[in-house]
């Protein structure tokens, strides 16, 4: 298997509505930024891999067809990945596979969502036949899982508030982040409306327009890059069914297996000690402690302690989501790729004001569906 590195990264300014650009304009903004970072042009790219969440979000069927021109893919191979919320991560992995397999030297990978052009809530909770319309979006699905975690772990009730504030404060150091809430406080989050009890409004991710792009290259491409590459030290995907008897929704086996495969590839035996920073997919604030456990950073039912004692803060020993994460920016299809890209920025030392000093090993994590699809990678400032 060939080595693969991230040699260019770009993202859009994320916002609730990017009315200034079309869908093509949005993805192109990210792609051109990634090319500029890599000091390359579209003609240097061998293939394009694009990902996004369901097509019903924008009402464009298989949008890779319409976006081929805008992404300089004409005459080249182009693929479209869709693995629900984990798609941004799995899209990057599919692109990396092309380089690792020796099929291509340089691949452009892009993920996006332009939620303002349609109604995501409608797309997620349409009038499905044969069942009553109950759920009111993703929150209705995830709230019972969070309730189960709260009971199982006996965590204090303000863990969710802490994450909500921490991530929004980190986002202030990220000029691309959607939410810029300089006045956020625990009280403000506590007093925000309880939408899907136990999830409050400010414990929920926003809905954003945005895109993310990366240029992945082989050894040679990485050597020629002028800026430091982020080497992919491991990448893994796992899936399990949505509903089955005895399913552990709080701590899904697919997530555990995915992390185990990832650490094996990257030679990591103690993730808590060996990983410097992690960008993990936290769409509702309580998912931070849940994933800390699922990923092996903490024992079962103990993840919340790392949140409460400041370990996961920007200046903590294991910073989680220094970019502000999904809690500050959520263009659904791109959210996973943003986690992967932010991890790569950290080990390249190019994360700007939210750079973690001395970050050499970083994790990008994404999940989707009913907590059943997982995509993760470990990137490092040096190859394996």
């Amino acid at each position: 298997m060939n080595r693969c590195a991230v040699i260019g990264i770009g993202q859009t300014k994320h916002a609730q509505k990017r009315a200034d650009v079309s869908i093509a304009g949005l993805v192109r903004e990210a792609a051109l930024a990634a090319l500029a970072d890599a000091e390359l042009t579209f003609s240097d790219i061998d293939a394009v891999v694009i990902g996004k969440a369901p097509d019903t979000f924008e009402g464009v069927m298989m949008p890779e067809l319409y976006l081929a021109t805008a992404l300089g893919a004409v005459g080249k191979p182009m693929m479209r990945v869709h693995t629900a919320g984990s798609v941004g991560g799995s899209t990057a992995l599919v692109a990396a596979h092309l380089v690792q397999a020796g099929v291509h030297q340089r691949v452009l990978t892009v993920a996006f969502e332009k939620q303002s052009e349609s109604e995501a809530m409608w797309a997620l909770s349409p009038k499905f036949p044969f069942q009553p319309p109950l759920l009111a979006g993703a929150g209705g699905y995830f709230a019972p899982i969070i309730r189960a975690y709260m009971m199982r772990s006996d965590a204090p009730s303000d863990v969710g508030l802490q994450v909500a504030v921490k991530d929004r404060l980190s986002a202030l150091k990220n000029p691309y982040a959607h939410l810029q809430m300089s006045d956020i406080t625990l009280e403000m989050v506590r007093n925000s409306p309880m939408l899907w009890d136990p999830i409050r409004y400010l414990e929920t991710c926003p809905s954003s327009d945005g895109a993310c792009a990366m240029i992945l290259g082989d050894d040679q491409a990485a050597k020629r890059a002028l800026r430091p590459p982020a080497w992919i030290r491991g990448g893994a995907m796992r899936s399990e069914p949505t509903m089955f008897s005895g399913r552990n929704l709080v701590d899904p086996q697919a997530g555990r297996d995915c992390a185990a495969d990832l650490y094996r590839q990257a030679g990591i035996t103690n993730p808590r000690r060996e990983i410097d920073v992690a960008e993990i997919y936290v769409p509702f604030s309580w998912f931070e402690p849940m994933w800390l456990e699922n990923l092996g950073f903490a024992e079962r039912n103990q993840g919340w302690r790392l949140t409460m004692d400041g370990t996961t803060a920007l200046n903590g020993d294991l910073p989680i989501n220094p970019s502000g994460g999904v809690m500050a920016t959520n263009p659904i299809g791109a959210s996973g790729m943003l986690r992967f890209a932010e991890a790569a920025l950290q080990v390249r030392g190019l994360a700007g004001d939210h750079q973690i000093d001395g970050a050499r090993i970083a994790m990008g994590h994404a999940f989707g569906g009913g907590s059943q699809f997982f995509a993760m990678w470990i990137v490092g400032s040096e190859p394996n």
């Binding site: 969440a53 097509d55 069927m61 319409y66 693929m79």
Partner: protein, 314 residues
């Protein structure tokens, strides 16, 4: 590149499925695995292809995954494309060398909604889709371009204006295996000697619709022009497209086109391309051919094309 072969194939085409997606997929997955002598836990990587717009509901691939029984958790991915591209992703994954087998499947219930209109949503959402050009009208545009090119004989002219395809529901599954594993599991594996795909502009006005440039590039990279296929399975729902593809692939009269009947008789949207690969592989495996060509297409007027060359090896 590592040797990878199609070692088994199963398809199910029905005029109108009574099944849900999982019920539609399960028989083909079980049959393909059974023919390969494998069980689900023997599979290293699973990849599927489908489109949410066929059923009008988001995440249709999620329910279909139940058909595989992904427990304990599996390494799995999905493309919102014809299953032929899922096979491409699996072929790439097998190149890494750490796994030897992959399961690929595709499904589509194309008869649930107004498929002719649904496909209009593949167009530019600002300039073209709002006019709702239906799929057959777009294909007619291409047929007209071909007729007016002056390249056609009288008999081909007649052929270029045949009926639109019959839309059906369907599912298909393919098992891939690498090198020695393929030889162990199958008496005559259909090795993929080359596979490549290319896309063209979405703007119909900037393309010469009477030519398929992307097919030609993909064919070149798949090594098509150095091979002599006995059969070619072409994913051409409309007959004019078959003529354009034969031209791009430089197929002479010796090559039998679509011995399976092709996508004109049974157009299972999102599945038809994978079926072409399965059909071509079957001709190799059952000794009807030493080399066969399979083609898959995506988008209006053959916008994106994939070529897969299959051959027997000693």
């Amino acid at each position: 590149m590592r040797d990878v072969a199609v070692i088994s194939f199963s398809q199910l085409l029905v005029d109108k499925a009574e099944a849900n997606d999982a019920e539609l997929v399960m028989p083909v997955v079980r049959e393909a695995l059974g023919r390969a002598g494998l069980q689900k836990q023997d599979i290293g990587f699973t990849c599927s292809g489908s489109s949410d717009f066929l059923t009008g509901m988001p995440f249709s691939f999620v329910g279909a995954l139940d058909a595989v029984g992904p427990w304990p958790p599996i390494e799995e991915s999905h493309v919102e494309m014809d299953g032929a591209w899922a096979l491409y992703e699996a072929w790439v994954r097998l190149q890494h060398g750490d796994i030897d087998t992959a399961l690929v499947y595709a499904f589509g219930r194309s008869t649930l909604g107004p498929i002719e209109d649904i496909l209009a949503l593949q167009l530019d959402p600002y300039y073209e889709a709002p006019m709702w050009p239906d799929a057959t009208s777009l294909a007619a545009l291409q047929a007209r371009a071909l007729l007016d090119s002056g390249r056609l004989s009288d008999s081909d002219k007649k052929k270029a204006t045949a009926e639109p395809p019959k839309i059906v529901d369907g599912a298909a599954a393919v098992v891939l295996a690498s090198g020695d594993r393929a030889r162990k599991l199958c008496s005559r594996p259909a090795f993929i000697s080359g596979i490549d795909h290319r896309i063209e502009s979405h703007l119909l006005g900037v393309r010469d619709l009477s030519h398929s440039v992307s097919t030609e590039i993909a064919a070149k990279h798949a090594g098509c022009f150095e091979k002599s296929p006995t059969f070619a399975e072409l994913h051409a729902p409309y007959s004019a497209q078959e003529l354009i593809l034969c031209d791009a692939l430089k197929l002479d009269k010796q090559v039998t086109i679509n011995p399976s009947g092709g996508a004109q008789n049974n157009n299972a949207v999102m599945v038809a391309g994978l079926i072409r690969i399965g059909e071509a592989a079957t001709r190799v495996s059952n000794r009807e051919a030493d080399c066969a060509l399979a083609h898959a297409s995506s988008g209006p007027c053959l916008q994106q094309n994939l070529i897969c060359m299959l051959e027997a090896r000693a």
